[in-house]
Amino acid sequence: MSPHAAETRKGAADRLRDIESVTEAGLARLSVDDLLVELLDRVRAILDADTAVVLLLDEPTRQLVATAATGIEEEVYQGMRIPLGRGFAGRVAAGKQPVTIHDVQDADVVNPLLRQKGVRSLLGVPLLVGDRLLGVLHVGTLTPRHFGEADVDLLQMVADRVALATQAHLSETERRAAVLLQRRLLPEGMPQVPGLEVAFRYIAGGEGDVGGDWYDMFTLPSGWVCMTVGDVVGRGLRAASVMGRLRSAVRAYALATRSDPAAILDRIDRMLRHFEPDEMATAVLALLEPSFERLHVSLAGHPAPVVATGAGPATLVDVPVDPPLGVAPPLSRRATTVDLPPGAVVCLYSDGLVERRGVPLDARLERLRQAVTVRAVEDVCTTVMVQLVGDDRPTDDVALLTVRRLDPPSAEPLELAVPAVASSLRDIRAAVKRWLTTIDARPEDVMDVLLAVGEATSNVVEHAYGPKGGLVHVRLELQRPDVVVTVRDDGHWRSPRGRNRGRGTHIIHAVTDEFTTDRRSNGTELVIRRRLGQAGSHS
């Protein structure tokens, strides 16, 4: 037996003091990091060891990561990682049993730091909470030593203490992180879109454990408005982070994909199945045309939006429900188009709003349908929450997004920036048309301004950029009694090619009152002025 062995060196009184020193209640006040270092220092002193290390299991990689160390701090500084099952710490973890090594020279030790440091003997114990492995605690000596049963018992006692503190800390950290993450990942506010009124409600359900519901609304440079509500299956930090990625993905794909909600959901679906095959989510995606006249809706395992137009009671949008995201093999997703007259209200919501244990879904949907009427969106949200949540604390997250198409819109300038490609022209016209109706332009004015904008933007599409492409910027401003249109690009203009070209500028001249072109090295700007209510002078 080694002269260093604890049982030969210490009496029962010492042992008791040792135990007290590692179970002292005062330690509970320390943060986990400080607690780990303090316990490691104490255990090193008690066991007369030279090094002491805590490695925690990183679940996703199945590796042990050095988290706290004394006597061999480099392990932490260098972020040492040991695969489960390999080397000394890996064996302790894999077997969930104490392991002693009398002499490192003869043993399977993967960590080069132990050899470099001159560590000769090792004792390692698992960090366990119940049957769940959190990591490994090990001590080492620079002189050869036989660790006895009492050493193992004492170290295991410290390990249990470390495990409990770490577990509590991790779950608290995870819970806080999830709450924080969810808060940061959800939109901080809703975009101000002239002509639309928006309100939302979000309730984190359950026992303070966040779920994966999300809602979002954003405008696209093409003038389309995208709205979405979704629900990642599961709870906690994991669901919250997947939710964040999905929300970003919806934005990215909406920006890059033609304005079709089914096509966007299809890409999200593929993304999820490829990168996160274990995750599943439901979502509703609704795209509002730049004219605000039609809403395109696609569902992925999600309840249909409610639309109230004022003509009769509100209805659930009649759209087929395609499978949730992340589950099904490729399929052709479907979208439905709904007319949205001025004043109409649209409600998107997560299933947490309509699902209640013991109540048929249809009854809940019926209740929701009755709660949605044509009026201010804040009122709609309030009524819906009163009717469907009431004083019954939701067990699941509840997300509710309500949008109303206003009829008397403002005369804020219209700003668009869209890819200079032919397929953008139709969207530009739709946005311009809507804006012109908001300023009460007469049909003749609408016709001529549309034509002028159409010609100016077509010119940019054809002549401003090379194959690399670029953006066309359109701005319409009301300067009574004129509408001032600015069409700008950042390209290098080249002269029209082919026959029957160059007629566009002639047409712009013919249908407007003033037309100037400012051609610079870094782009061209066309400013067109059209007096309202004077079409007669031109035709």
Partner: protein, 112 residues
């Protein structure tokens, strides 16, 4: 994507081509192909009806200018139909096409 429908009616040696929807840079080539395909060498007169056009710009006019010059070379009569007050008529007028082709309103209104 911009969409237009091209309807062709053949009556003996005259061809009626009714365009509806929108015509811009995005679909002008498709519309041109459809119009040209409707006109055989045996045809004596062509009428393009723009009454149901919601939007057309110089991309659409290019089709009609090209058609006008080719039909003139083939000695095929060419007329364009557009109602008074319509955006298509305005475009035919301001683009100068009205100087090259016969422009008339649809039959049911022509009397008035």
């Amino acid at each position: 994507m911009t969409t237009a429908v091209v309807d062709v009616t053949v009556d003996d040696r005259s061809v009626g081509i009714a365009v509806s929807g929108e015509v811009d840079l995005a679909n002008a080539a498709t519309v041109e192909d459809q119009i040209v395909a409707a006109i055989t060498n045996q045809v004596a007169s062509v009428s393009v009806d723009l009454s149901a056009v919601d939007y057309m710009d110089s991309a659409g006019m290019r089709i009609l200018f090209a058609l006008a010059s080719r039909l003139a070379g083939l000695q095929i009569a060419f007329e364009v139909v557009a109602p008074f007050g319509s955006s298509a008529r305005r475009l035919v007028e301001v683009s100068g096409l009205a100087l090259l082709v016969a422009l008339r309103p649809p039959m049911d209104r022509a009397a008035g």
